[in-house]
């Protein structure tokens, strides 16, 4: 079979698609916390996407992609049997998997998919793993069943209260603390403000926080420095030194500024794409 072929794709909600892709070289080397860089077409961007699952025997990798801009919208219109143009990886430093004790894995939105392989690996390493999953509403909450299977306990929070606790992941963590749960480390993946406030809260509660950062990337191999972030006052490259960093000292505000740099251009090509594109599913 041709590498990069999509074996199956499944919509998890209106904006999120789960892909299983034939890519043996990456499937055999992947570790929790790593990512790939995708390209969909000639002239297309290089888009970093976290590895959610992999099967080295069958040579398959699983990616879960949320349509945000033009490239991710284009990806999510690909069908089984079609190919990604390029997939490079596995990139980044894997998360250090060891026995921490009790850990909280915290996912927000599509970040739930990204934190899933970390939860699974931490469980296999003998940790007590508590999942804290957050989304705006019930429809956007993904992978609860998968998480429940690999975690000792799973808490859900939705902004509108349509499922689980009404509130943020920080409210759920506060509840865990209040009931006397002693948590040693937290692994957080989600929108930047969510990672910032969750890290701050964990610091206060005596939990060591780690966050997986998503700055703009270009090559993803440490060559361009576009993804530089400030951690402990030092410049680090998220693509090779991360993407997961101890998050107490991350300069999240700088990260927000740097990821917003091309907002106008991103909106421009997305609008053009939507105008040109006739959706295959007939729902849009």
């Amino acid at each position: 079979m041709q590498e990069n072929t999509i074996l199956s794709c499944e919509s998890l909600n209106s904006a999120v698609v789960k892909f299983v892709i034939y890519k043996p070289a990456i499937a055999r080397a992947a570790k929790a916390g790593q990512f790939v860089i995708l390209r969909g077409r000639e002239g297309g961007e290089r888009v970093p996407v976290t590895l959610v699952d992999w099967d080295s025997e069958k040579g398959m990798i699983t990616l879960i992609i949320q349509a945000i801009g033009k490239s991710t919208s284009m990806f999510n219109n690909l069908q089984a049997g079609e190919c990604f143009l390029n997939i490079a990886g596995p990139l980044g430093t894997p998360v250090e998997i060891k026995k921490y004790g009790t850990v909280a894995v915290v996912g927000g939105g599509v970040g739930i998919a990204e934190v899933y392989p970390i939860a699974r690996a931490l469980k296999e390493a003998g940790n007590k793993v508590i999942a804290v999953l957050g989304a705006r509403n019930k429809e956007l909450l993904i992978l609860e069943n998968e998480m429940t299977k690999v975690c000792d306990e799973t808490l859900c929070a939705t902004d509108d209260g349509s499922y689980g606790l009404k509130g943020m992941v920080t409210d759920a963590i506060t509840q865990l603390h209040a009931r006397g749960e002693k948590i040693d480390a937290g692994f957080i993946i989600g929108p930047i403000p969510m990672m910032k406030f969750t890290s701050r809260l964990m610091d206060k509660l005596g939990i060591t926080p780690y966050a997986s950062l998503n700055p703009i990337m270009l090559d993803g191999t440490g060559m361009c420095g576009c993804c530089r972030v400030s951690v402990e006052g030092k410049v680090r490259f998220a693509c090779v030194d991360g993407p997961m960093f101890p998050s107490s000292t991350i300069d999240f505000d700088e990260l927000i500024r740097r990821t917003s740099e091309y907002k106008a251009q991103e909106a421009e090509i997305l609008a053009q794409y939507k105008k040109d594109h006739i959706c295959k599913c007939g729902l849009h």
């Binding site: 270009l218 191999t221 420095g225 400030s230 917003s260």
Partner: protein, 462 residues
């Protein structure tokens, strides 16, 4: 009869006012008449200093003689006996430091324009279908991996294929050519020239594989277990930053990022391509090497009001190829010397508003003989800017060395070779910027060719 006293033909270029708005090639290829007239100037010195000073030993008088006889295909073949990338070398080599810098005509009449003759020979032979891919020796059954598809790695791959080995080139990015592709702009080296030179190497049986990052997709030791030898030509893909305050502000690019956006991702074609690049009204480029010139000239083509190169030493110490400095000046790039950057200034939203400098004077020479800049007390001032591009050098990308602890490196991450040009791991050879820490295309090619010869003798004994 040679005609050495005719004036050197420097070649013609697109007019600066025109070319600063496009990414088409600046220098035009010689016409046939121009090429023949320039070839007539060569004295065919017996102990040709040009050839002796060519790092890859191109047989310069011999190819020029064939060219003069109208045998363009044979002239190209003569160059390719020692260098398989003539269309690239003719365009990007610093000829003034090597062949042309040592031409006997240099002082009196101006050196023969060897660069333009090489380029004419390669381009014309290609166009007329006279370019023969080099003959390869009978298959040896030995398998070699070349890591990276930049100039050193593809030069090595070509030589190894010539010797009959089965060669595979692994590239981390989606397109081949390494720094030729992501670093050097199309107005200096058109993309189709890179494509064609790589096609030649493919036609020798070399396999090119994209999207493989050695150290991540495969470790070096995994490759060693499956192949008979490995050449590491992974380049200097790690940007050097200044470390000054404010460097992470929005609007500060490393030259690698800026050039990768523009050249590899073709951001200048946005929104036809999907990767954007932003350029402010006032651009400062730090540094005065080839990357700095490339960055400044790319920036100029994106339409700002002003582009200024700020260098901490003086004009005489600029490491860039002379022609690039000249072309940058013609295109309106301003040069400010003896300045050390101190701090990036920003507005409340974190966008660049300027760069604080101090002025320098030149002190004693450093270990390379270049006079060291010394700060003048109280000379601080601010240059307004919206975009800053840091082009002060590159270092080796550490992915392979970090994942292969057996490889010895210096404190700057440069791979160490023994006297036989081997790394500390048997069967592993290296060259180009991974052992030099940031040099030229030509020296990278030289390393690749020399390492290939060592690999050939290593494999003979295996």
């Amino acid at each position: 009869m040679p005609n050495p006293s005719a004036p050197r033909n420097n070649g013609s270029q697109q007019e600066p006012e025109v070319r600063k708005h496009n990414f088409d090639e600046v220098a035009r290829t010689f016409t046939k008449q121009e090429a023949l007239a320039e070839a007539e100037r060569c004295l065919h010195c017996k102990n040709a200093r040009c050839q002796a000073n060519c790092p890859v030993g191109v047989q310069i008088p011999a190819f020029i003689a064939l060219l003069r006889e109208g045998k363009v295909g044979q002239a190209a073949g003569k160059i390719m006996e020692t260098s398989l990338l003539p269309a690239i070398c003719g365009r990007v080599c610093p000829q003034e430091k090597h062949c042309e810098g040592n031409c006997v005509l240099k002082e009196k009449f101006g050196a023969v324009n060897i660069g333009m003759l090489e380029r004419y020979t390669a381009d014309t032979a290609r166009k007329e279908g006279l370019l023969q891919p080099p003959q390869t020796a009978p298959k040896t059954g030995k398998k070699v991996i070349c890591i990276g598809s930049g100039p050193s790695s593809i030069a090595a791959a070509a030589e190894l294929a010539r010797a009959g080995h089965e060669v595979t080139v692994l590239e981390a990015l989606h397109a081949f050519g390494g720094v030729l592709r992501y670093g050097i702009p199309s107005f200096r080296l058109p993309r189709e020239v890179i494509d064609r030179e790589i096609e030649t190497i493919k036609s020798m049986g070399v396999k090119f594989v994209p999207d493989v990052l050695v150290g991540a997709t495969y470790t070096l030791k995994e490759l060693l277990a499956q192949y008979d030898a490995v050449y590491v030509g992974s380049g200097a893909g790690l940007p050097t930053l200044t470390g000054i305050k404010g460097e992470n502000a929005v609007g500060v690019y490393s030259a690698n990022e800026f050039l990768t956006r523009v050249n590899l991702m073709q951001a200048y074609k946005f929104p036809q391509t999907d990767t954007p690049v932003k350029i402010g009204k006032r651009v400062i480029v730090l540094g005065a090497g080839n990357s700095a010139m490339d960055a400044a000239r790319c920036a100029m083509r994106l339409g700002p009001d002003a582009v200024t190169i700020a260098y901490r030493r003086s004009a005489a110490e600029m490491p860039a190829r002379a022609a690039e400095v000249e072309h940058a000046k013609e295109e309106g790039v301003a040069f400010e010397f003896l300045l050390t950057p101190k701090e990036v200034l920003t507005d409340d939203a974190g966008h660049v508003t300027g760069l604080k400098f101090t002025r320098n004077e030149l002190g004693d020479p450093d270990e390379k003989g270049r006079r060291r800049p010394v700060e003048i007390a109280g000379s601080e001032f601010v240059m307004p800017a919206d975009t800053i591009i840091v082009a002060i050098g590159q270092r080796p990308n550490p992915i392979i060395t970090k994942t292969t602890p057996e490889l010895k490196t210096t404190s700057r991450g440069v791979l160490e070779l023994d006297e036989q040009g081997k790394t500390s791991l048997a069967g592993v050879y290296a060259g180009g910027d991974i052992i030099r820490g940031g040099a030229t295309v030509l020296l990278a090619m030289k390393d690749g060719i020399e390492a290939a010869k060592r690999i050939n003798s290593y494999l003979e004994g295996k």
